[in-house]
C-alpha cells in the first residue's frame, strides 16, 4: 500500500496522537498527518491540503463531527476520501446519522489498534 496522507480531527491533542499511533500500528505508512481540533479547522485544512483518509471525532466544540461531514459534502471538499468517525457515541442512531452525513466507517472509543486496522484498511483498498 502506498503512503497515506491523513487528517485527524479531534478536540483532544492526546487523542489525535493516539489515533495516529493506532494507524501506524495498523501498518499504514503515513506520509503526512494533518491535525485539526474542530470541524472548522478541518475544513480550512482541506481547502489547502489533499488527503487520502479522514478520521474525525463527533463531539467537538465550534463544529461537531456530523456538521463537519455535512459541510464536506456541501462544499465538495475531499469528495472521494473515506471518512471514519472515532467517537464515544455508540448507539445505532449515532452510527446511522454518521453514515447519512457521509461517513464510510465508525469506530467507538475505547478502541484497539486492531479495530482501527479492521475499519480503515478495507476503505483504503477500495479507494
Amino acid at each position: 500500500m502506498s503512503e497515506i496522507r491523513t487528517l485527524i480531527v479531534d478536540d483532544s491533542s492526546v487523542m489525535r496522537k493516539i489515533v495516529e499511533r493506532a494507524l501506524r500500528q495498523a501498518g499504514l505508512e503515513l506520509s503526512a498527518v494533518h491535525e485539526a481540533s474542530s470541524g472548522t479547522e478541518a475544513l480550512e485544512i482541506l481547502r489547502a491540503k489533499t488527503v487520502d483518509l479522514i478520521l474525525s471525532d463527533i463531539n467537538m466544540p465550534s463544529m461537531d463531527g456530523l456538521e463537519f461531514l455535512r459541510q464536506l459534502r456541501d462544499q465538495n471538499l475531499a469528495p472521494d476520501v473515506p471518512v471514519v468517525m472515532i467517537t464515544t457515541e455508540s448507539s445505532e442512531e449515532h452510527v446511522k446519522q454518521a453514515i447519512v452525513a457521509g461517513a464510510q466507517g465508525y469506530i467507538r472509543k475505547p478502541f484497539t489498534p486492531e479495530q482501527v486496522k479492521d475499519r480503515v484498511l478495507p476503505l483504503l483498498v477500495v479507494a
Binding site: 491533542s13 464515544t88 472509543k109
Partner: protein
C-alpha cells in the same frame, strides 16, 4: 406502553455497568487491569477532576478524580510517554479518560445510549477542593486501583431522569 427511563432505574443504576466501563477503558486504552477497592483514596496535595456532563433523558455528570501522580501515570500509559509534570497533556488525557468512561457507561443502557448526550470534558486542577451535588436523583461512586499503587475515583451523578 413504553417504559420511561425512570421505570428502569434499576438498570440505569446497576453498578456492574460502571465497573464494566472502567475495566474496558483502562484495558483497551491503557493496557492495565483495574480492580474496584474500598476507599478512601490516598490524598495527594494536588488533584485533578474531570467532568463530562450528561443531557437528554438523563441529566447529570460523570466525574473522574485522582491525585496528580495517578493522573500523570494514566497520561503516561495513554500517550506512551512519561509525564513528569501536570501539564496540558495530562489534563487533556484525563479529560479524554472521563469522556470515554462517560460514553462507555451510557452505552451500556440502550435508552441512554441514543437519548443521552455528552458534553465536552471540563478539567479542574488544584488543592483542597471538594465537589458537592445537591439532592441527586442517584449517584454511583466507585474507587479503583491499578498497578497496585494507583487509585482513582469515578462518580456518576444524576440530577434528573425522564
Amino acid at each position: 406502553m413504553a417504559l420511561s427511563l425512570r421505570d428502569s432505574l434499576h438498570v440505569v443504576t446497576d453498578p456492574a455497568h460502571l465497573e464494566g466501563s472502567v475495566e474496558e477503558v483502562f484495558r483497551l486504552m491503557l493496557g492495565v487491569n483495574c480492580e474496584q477497592i474500598e476507599g478512601p483514596v490516598k490524598k495527594e496535595p494536588d488533584t485533578i477532576t474531570a467532568v463530562v456532563g450528561f443531557g437528554g433523558v438523563l441529566s447529570g455528570a460523570c466525574v473522574f478524580r485522582s491525585g496528580e501522580s495517578v493522573a500523570r501515570r494514566i497520561a503516561g500509559l495513554l500517550t506512551g510517554m512519561d509525564q513528569p509534570t501536570m501539564d496540558d497533556t495530562v489534563k487533556d488525557a484525563i479529560g479524554e479518560i472521563c469522556n470515554m468512561l462517560a460514553g462507555a457507561w451510557k452505552g451500556k443502557v440502550p435508552d441512554l445510549s441514543a437519548k443521552c448526550m455528552l458534553s465536552v470534558p471540563a478539567v479542574v486542577t488544584g488543592r483542597d477542593y471538594n465537589i458537592h451535588v445537591q439532592s441527586p436523583e442517584f449517584s454511583l461512586h466507585h474507587v479503583y486501583s491499578f498497578e497496585q499503587e494507583y487509585a482513582f475515583e469515578v462518580t456518576i451523578i444524576c440530577d434528573g431522569l425522564q
